[in-house]
Symmetry: C4
Subunit: 191 residues, 4 copies
C-alpha cells in the first residue's frame, strides 16, 4: 500500500475546503466601503479557518512525510479526519454571519475539537502501523501541542456562553501555537 | 498507458463530490440550537453519503493498487462510475431536505444501485484487461459483498414506498458491511 | 520542463468542472416524481456536458501520454483550452434551464466550437515542440475527427435558430463520434 | 522535505479558484442575447482574473521547477500566497457585478497587490533556502517584472477614484506584461 493516493486525496479535499469557504464571502449588493465593512465578521472567521486548515495541511504533510506504509485503518482514520474538517466551511459561515453568537461560536469549537481528536486518532493509527521505534514516533515525542489544543478547545466551548470573545481569543491562541510548523519532525529528519 | 492520471482524476472528482455536499448544509438564519436541529435530516444524509463516497474511494484505491495497465475501456468504465457518483450530492440534498420522503429515498437508492453496477462494470473491464490469473482476480475471488450490495439496494428502492425507514436501514446496513475495507486485497498482497 | 504539473493542473480543473455542473441540478422543492421530471432538460444537458468533458479529459490524457517535453507555449495553449472548457457549466445550465431555446443552444455550440479550436491549437503547439517525426505526430495522422468536429459545430450553431433539435442532434452525434477513445495513439503505442 | 505535495496542493487550490469563479457567471433568467449582454462586465472580469490566476500558476510552476528543497517557511509563504489568491473570486464578482465601480475596482487592485507581495515573499523564502548561487537565483536575476507589477498596482488603486478605466487599463497592462511566461528560467535551464 503506497501513501501517494492518500496524500493526493487529502490534498484535494483540504484544497477544496480551504477554497469553497470563500463562497461564503457573498458578493455584497452595495459598491462602497460600508458594503465591505458588513462582511468584516465573515472575513475574520474566513481568515481564522484558512489558518486552521493550513495548519492541518501542514502537519498532515509533515506527518505523512515520514510514514512508510499505509493500511486500511489509516485510510479510515484519515477519512474520519477529513469528515470533521469538511464541516469547517459550515461552522465558519454560521459563526461569521451571526457575528460570533454563543451557539455558533461553541459549535465552531466543537468542530475544532473533533478535528483535533480525529487527528490524534490518525496519528495513533499511523504509529501503531509504524511501530514505537519509527522515525515518526521519535519525531512526535510527547506531542505537547497535540494534547494542549483539544484541552483548550474543551475549555473554550462552554465559555462561549459566558463571553464569546474569550472563546474566540482561545481559538486564535491555539492557531498561533500551531503556526510554527512541526519543527520536531524537521529537526529529527536533519539528524 | 499508466494509471497515474486515472487515479489522480478519480481522486479529484471524489474529493470534490465529498466536499461540495457540505454546501447543502446551508448556513441557517437563526443562531440557536433549534436552527441547528432543523438541519438534522440533511446532516444525517450528509454523513451517510460521506461514508458511501469514502467507501468507493477506499475500494477504488485498493482495486487500482494492483492494476498494472489501463486501456480505453477502463477509462470510460471509470468515467461511467464517476458519473453516477456525481449524482450523490443531488440525491443527498433531495432526500435530506424532504426528510426521507418516499420518492427521494427511492431515488437515493437508485443512484446507489447504479453506482454499484458501474463499479462492477469497471471491475470487469479491469479484470478483462488484467487476465484471470492476475493478482486482482485472485484478490477479488467470489466478490460476495459486491454482489450482495446491489441486491440489497434493489430491495430497498420499492420498500421506500412501504416504509421509508426500512430503506434507510438497508442503506446504513450496506455502508456498515463495506466499512471494513477490502481486506481480501490487503491479505492477498501480504502473501 | 516536466509535464507532471500540467497534467495534474488540467486533471484538477476538468475534475472540478465535471463536478460543479451538478450544482445546477438544484434540489427541487417538491418530493414527488413530477418535481424530478421538471429537471429533465437540465439533467439531459448535464449528461451531454459530462460526456463532452469526459472526452476532452480522455483525449488530453492520450495526447499528453506521448508528450516528452513541455514549454511555455504549450502551458498557455493548455490554459486557453481550460478557459473555454470552464464555460461549459455556464452554457450547460443556461441551455438546460431554458429548455434548449435557440440562443442558449447556439451559445452551447459556440463554447464547444471554441473548445475544439483550443484543443487543435494545443495539439499544434505540442507537435511544434515534439517535431514532425515524433510518436504523437505519427499517432495523430490526418486527425479526421479533430477536423470534422469543429465543422459540425459551425453548422449546428446557426441551425439552432431554424430548429433547436437539429443542433442538439448534431452535438450528440459529435459526442458519439468521440466516445471511442483515440485508438490511433493506443495502437501506435502497441506497435 | 519534498516539493511534490506543495505543488499538488497549490495546483489544487489554484485549479479550484480558477474554476469556481465561473459560478459568479449566474445563469441568466432570459434566453436571448440581451440576457447574455447583461453579463458582459462579469465576463470581462472573469477573463481578466482567469488570466491573472493562469499567470500565477505558470510562474509558480516555473519557480518550483528549479527548487530542490522545501522547509516550513516556504510552506507558510506558499499558504500566504494562496490566501490572497483565494480572494480573487470574491473581488472578481464584486467588481464585475458593480460595473467597475471605484471601490470594488480599487479592492481588486489591493488583492492583486497583496498577491504580488505574497509571491515576492515566497520567492525570497525559497531563495533563502536555495542559496545565492542556486539555479533559481541566477534565473530570477534582477526580477524587473516582479518589481514593476506591485508598483503599477499601487498606482492603479488610488486612480480608481479618479477614473475607473485607468485602473482597469493598468490591470490589463500588467497581465499583458506577464503573459509572456518567465523565459529567464527556461533559458537558464537550456544553458
Amino acid at each position: 500500500m503506497t501513501k501517494t493516493r492518500l496524500e493526493a486525496f487529502s490534498d484535494g479535499v483540504i484544497a477544496i475546503l480551504i477554497t469553497i469557504m470563500v463562497l461564503d464571502l457573498h458578493v455584497p449588493h452595495g459598491d462602497d466601503w460600508s458594503a465591505l465593512g458588513a462582511l468584516a465578521p465573515v472575513f475574520v472567521t474566513y481568515v481564522l479557518s484558512f489558518v486552521f486548515l493550513g495548519i492541518y495541511w501542514n502537519n498532515h504533510h509533515h506527518m505523512l512525510h515520514v510514514v512508510t506504509r499505509v493500511n486500511g485503518a489509516v485510510l479510515w482514520a484519515n477519512l474520519h479526519l477529513l469528515f470533521w474538517l469538511s464541516l469547517t466551511p459550515f461552522v465558519t459561515g454560521w459563526m461569521g454571519e451571526n457575528h460570533f453568537a454563543p451557539v455558533p461560536t461553541a459549535m465552531y469549537g466543537i468542530v475544532l475539537l473533533m478535528s483535533a481528536i480525529a487527528y490524534y486518532i490518525l496519528l495513533r493509527a499511523i504509529l501503531a502501523s509504524e511501530g514505537p521505534d519509527s522515525r515518526l514516533a521519535r519525531a512526535v515525542g510527547r506531542d505537547l501541542k497535540g494534547k494542549i489544543s483539544p484541552a483548550l478547545y474543551a475549555v473554550a466551548i462552554p465559555l462561549a456562553f459566558v463571553n464569546r470573545w474569550i472563546s474566540f481569543a482561545i481559538y486564535v491562541s491555539v492557531a498561533l501555537i500551531w503556526l510554527v510548523p512541526d519543527r520536531r519532525i524537521e529537526s529529527t529528519l536533519r539528524d
